[in-house]
C-alpha cells in the first residue's frame, strides 16, 4: 500500500501521521472490482446507506420519544403532529425498517444465487448472518416502542417463546420482561437496546467490509479475477453505478413514505396497548412472517421455537452444506431451478405466516417448512456432488469482450 502523492500539502501532512487518505484511496480508488458486476451487486452498499438513514432518523426520534407505558403512544403521536417534520422522520424510520429488510433479503438471495458464501468468503457470509440476526432483534424491539396493540401483543408472544426452554424457561421470560408481564421495565430496556444494537450492526458491518476487501467482490460468473484486464477501480465505476441504483431505490422509498406510509403497518398498532384486550390476530411485521410460519408449523412448542431459530442458524453452515465447487448458479442448471423454488417457498411461508393457523394453511405451512430445511440440509449437499456444471469461461473479460468483438 504505497502512499499516493497527494497534491494538497495539508492532506500530505495529515496522511503522513494518520494515513486516512491513503486508506480511502486504497479501498475506494485502487480497490480492484470485477468489471462484470450486475445491478444485483447494488444491494450491499444500499443496505449500508439504509442503515445510516435509520440511525440518523432514529437519533432524532429518540429526542422526542418517551419510553414509558403511559406516554409512549402519545409521544409518538406528538412527533406525528407537533414536532416540525416529525411525521416525515417517523415515516422514514418506520418504512425504512421494511425497506432495510427488502434490501437485505435481496442481498442475501443474491449471495445464494451466485454462491457468494463459498471459499474464501465464508466468514464474510457468516458476518452477514450475524448482521441479519442483529437487525431482527433491533427491528423487533423497535416495533414495541410505539406501544400500540401489536407492539404489546407482539412483544408478549415473542418473549413468551423463551418459556419453551425446559426448566429455566419461565425464569428467563421473567428476567427478559423485568417483571411478570410485558410492562414498563420491558419497554425501557427495549428502548435502550434498540438504541444500542444499531451501533453493534455498524461494527459488524465494518468487519463485513474488512472481510469483503480481503478478496474483493464475487461476480456473476463466480470465477476469480485473473488479472488487471478483469477488474476496474471501484471509484468512479461502481460509485457511479451504485449512485444510480440509490436514486431508483429512493424513488420507490419516497413513493411509500409520502403516499402509502402505512402500507406495511398494522392498523391495530394505532390503538394504544391494552393488556386486557387481545387483538383478533396477532401478526408480526411482514419481514418476520416466514419465521412465524415455521414456528407454528410444528405442533410441539419447543420444537417449533428450535425450528424457527434453526431456519436462520442453518445459514451459518451454508458454506459447508453446499458441496458444489462452482460458485455461480449461471453454470449450475439444476441448482438454478431449486434456487427459485426456495424463493417461492419463502414467499409461501410468508403468506402462511400472515394467516391464522387454520385449515389448509396448517398443512401448507408444514410442507413449506419441511421443504425449507430439505433445501439446505439434503438438497444442497447432494446436488453439489451429482450435478454436472456447465463449462466455465476462461476469464471475466473473455465473455465480456466477446459481444463487443462480434459487433465490430
Amino acid at each position: 500500500m504505497a502512499a499516493p502523492a497527494f497534491k494538497n500539502g495539508l492532506v500530505r501532512w495529515i496522511d503522513h501521521r494518520l494515513p486516512v487518505f491513503s486508506f480511502l484511496h486504497h479501498e475506494l480508488h485502487e480497490y480492484p472490482t470485477p468489471k462484470n458486476l450486475s445491478y444485483w451487486w447494488n444491494f450491499g452498499s444500499l443496505a449500508g446507506i439504509v442503515l445510516v438513514i435509520m440511525i440518523a432518523t432514529g437519533i432524532f426520534l429518540a429526542m422526542h420519544y418517551t419510553p414509558h407505558t403511559l406516554y409512549a403512544f402519545d409521544s409518538v403521536e406528538r412527533i406525528m403532529r407537533d414536532v416540525n417534520y416529525g411525521w416525515l422522520i417517523r415515516y422514514i424510520h418506520m418504512n425504512g425498517a421494511s425497506f432495510f429488510f427488502i434490501v437485505v433479503y435481496i442481498h442475501i438471495f443474491r449471495g445464494m444465487y451466485y454462491g457468494s458464501y463459498k471459499a474464501p468468503r465464508e466468514l464474510l457470509w457468516i458476518l452477514g448472518v450475524v448482521i441479519l440476526l442483529l437487525m431482527m432483534a433491533t427491528a423487533f424491539m423497535g416495533y414495541v416502542l410505539p406501544w400500540g396493540q401489536m407492539s404489546f401483543w407482539g412483544a408478549t408472544v415473542i418473549t413468551n417463546l423463551f418459556s419453551a426452554i425446559p426448566v429455566v424457561g419461565d425464569w428467563i421470560v421473567t428476567w427478559l420482561w423485568g417483571g411478570f408481564s410485558v410492562d414498563n421495565p420491558t419497554l425501557n430496556r427495549f428502548f435502550s437496546l434498540h438504541y444500542l444494537l444499531p451501533f453493534l450492526i455498524v461494527a459488524v458491518v465494518m468487519l463485513h467490509m474488512v472481510a469483503l476487501h480481503r478478496f474483493g467482490s464475487g461476480n456473476p460468473l463466480g470465477i476469480d479475477v485473473k488479472g488487471p484486464q478483469d477488474s476496474i477501480p471501484f471509484h468512479p465505476y461502481y460509485t457511479a453505478k451504485d449512485s444510480f441504483g440509490l436514486g431508483v431505490f429512493l424513488i420507490l422509498f419516497a413513493g411509500v413514505v409520502f403516499f402509502a406510509p402505512n402500507l406495511f403497518g398494522e392498523p391495530d398498532n394505532y390503538i394504544p396497548a391494552n393488556p386486557m384486550v387481545t387483538p383478533p390476530h396477532i401478526v408480526p411485521e411482514w419481514y418476520f412472517l416466514p419465521y412465524y410460519a415455521i414456528l407454528r408449523a410444528i405442533p410441539n412448542k419447543l420444537l417449533g421455537v428450535i425450528a424457527m431459530f434453526a431456519s436462520i442458524l442453518v445459514l451459518f453452515i451454508l458454506p459447508w452444506l453446499d458441496t458444489a465447487r462452482v460458485r455461480s448458479a449461471k453454470f449450475r442448471p439444476t441448482y438454478r431451478k431449486f434456487f427459485w423454488v426456495l424463493v417461492i417457498d419463502c414467499f409461501v411461508l410468508g403468506y402462511v405466516g400472515a394467516n391464522p393457523p387454520e385449515g389448509w394453511f396448517v398443512i401448507t405451512g408444514q410442507i413449506a417448512t419441511a421443504y425449507y430445511f430439505f433445501h439446505f440440509l439434503i438438497l444442497l449437499p447432494v446436488l453439489g456432488l451429482i450435478e454436472r456444471p456447465l463449462p466455465l469461461p476462461q476469464s471475466i473479460s473473455a465473455p465480456v469482450l466477446k459481444p463487443a468483438e462480434g459487433k465490430a
Partner: protein, 250 residues
C-alpha cells in the same frame, strides 16, 4: 409455558369468534383526500367537525387534538378561541392548592366527555365509546370502514337475534354494535345549505376524523410530489453520469 398456551388459546378463540361473525367488507368510497394529489375538502371538514361536536362528542373523545389544531380545517384564531371557550377545563392546583375549572383555551386538548373509561362505560350501558382521534388509521379499511359503520345500520336479517342493548350493523365486526345509529336526517343543521342526509353527514364526519387521524396528510402529499419530481430528475442525471463513466468499459 402456561402463559404461552393461554395466549395461543386466546388467539384461537378470538380467531374462530371473528370468523363466526363474518364482517362485510365496507365498499370503497371516493374521498377528496385520496390519491397522490388529494387534499381535504375544507367545507366538508368544517361540516364534519360540526357533526362531531354536536353528535359524537357526547360520548367519543378525540384526545390527540388540541383546539389550536382547528386552524388546519380553516378556522381563524377568533373562531378557535370561541370554540375552545365553550369547554370547561379542569386546571390547578392554584395558590390555595385547589383544583379549579376554567374556560378552555386554544392550547388545550379537546376536553373528553368522560373523565375515565369506567365513567364512560357506566354512562353507556357497559360499552366503551372508543377515542376517535386515530380511528381512520386504526381500523382495517380506514375511512371506508368508518363511513360503512355510520351508514351500516339496517334491520337485522331474519334469523339473527340482536342481543339486549345492541344494534345490528352490516360492517361492524360481529355485526352487533352497542352504539345506536348516531346520525339522523337533518340531525345537524348545516349552515352552508348542504342537505344533511345521513350519507352526507357520514361522509363529512369521516373526512373530519381522517384529518384528525393525520393532520399532516396534506403536507405529506405536497412534499411527496416535489420530492418525487426531484428524485426522478436527479436519478436521470445519475443514470447519464453512469453511462458516461462506463462508456470506455463496455
Amino acid at each position: 409455558m402456561r402463559r404461552l398456551i393461554s395466549a395461543v388459546a386466546l388467539l384461537l378463540a378470538f380467531g374462530t369468534a371473528a370468523e363466526a361473525a363474518e364482517a362485510v367488507k365496507p365498499p370503497k368510497q371516493h374521498w377528496s383526500f385520496s390519491g397522490i394529489f388529494g387534499t381535504f375538502d375544507r367545507a366538508s371538514l368544517q361540516r364534519g367537525f360540526q357533526v362531531y361536536k354536536e353528535g359524537c362528542a357526547a360520548c367519543h373523545a378525540v384526545t390527540q387534538l388540541s383546539y389550536r389544531d382547528l386552524k388546519g380545517i380553516g378556522y381563524q384564531e377568533d373562531d378557535i378561541k370561541a370554540i375552545a371557550a365553550q369547554a370547561k377545563v379542569m386546571d390547578g392546583p392554584n395558590d390555595a392548592g385547589e383544583m379549579f375549572e376554567r374556560v378552555g383555551r386554544p392550547s388545550d386538548k379537546f376536553v373528553r366527555p368522560f373523565p375515565n373509561e369506567n365513567a364512560a362505560r357506566a354512562g353507556n350501558n357497559g360499552a366503551f365509546p372508543p377515542d376517535l382521534s386515530m380511528i381512520a388509521k386504526a381500523r382495517v379499511g380506514g375511512p371506508d370502514y368508518v363511513y360503512g359503520v355510520l351508514v351500516g345500520y339496517v334491520p337485522p336479517p331474519a334469523g339473527v337475534t340482536v342481543a339486549d342493548g345492541m344494534h345490528f350493523n352490516t360492517y361492524f365486526p360481529g355485526q352487533q354494535i352497542a352504539m345506536p345509529a348516531p346520525l339522523n336526517v337533518d340531525g345537524v343543521p348545516y349552515q352552508d345549505g348542504t342537505k344533511a342526509t345521513v350519507e352526507q353527514q357520514a361522509k363529512d364526519v369521516t373526512t373530519f376524523l381522517t384529518w384528525a387521524s393525520e393532520p399532516t396528510l396534506e403536507a405529506r402529499k405536497q412534499m411527496g410530489i416535489k420530492v418525487l419530481i426531484f428524485l426522478i430528475v436527479f436519478t436521470g442525471i445519475l443514470y447519464a453520469a453512469k453511462r458516461k463513466v462506463w462508456a470506455s468499459v463496455h
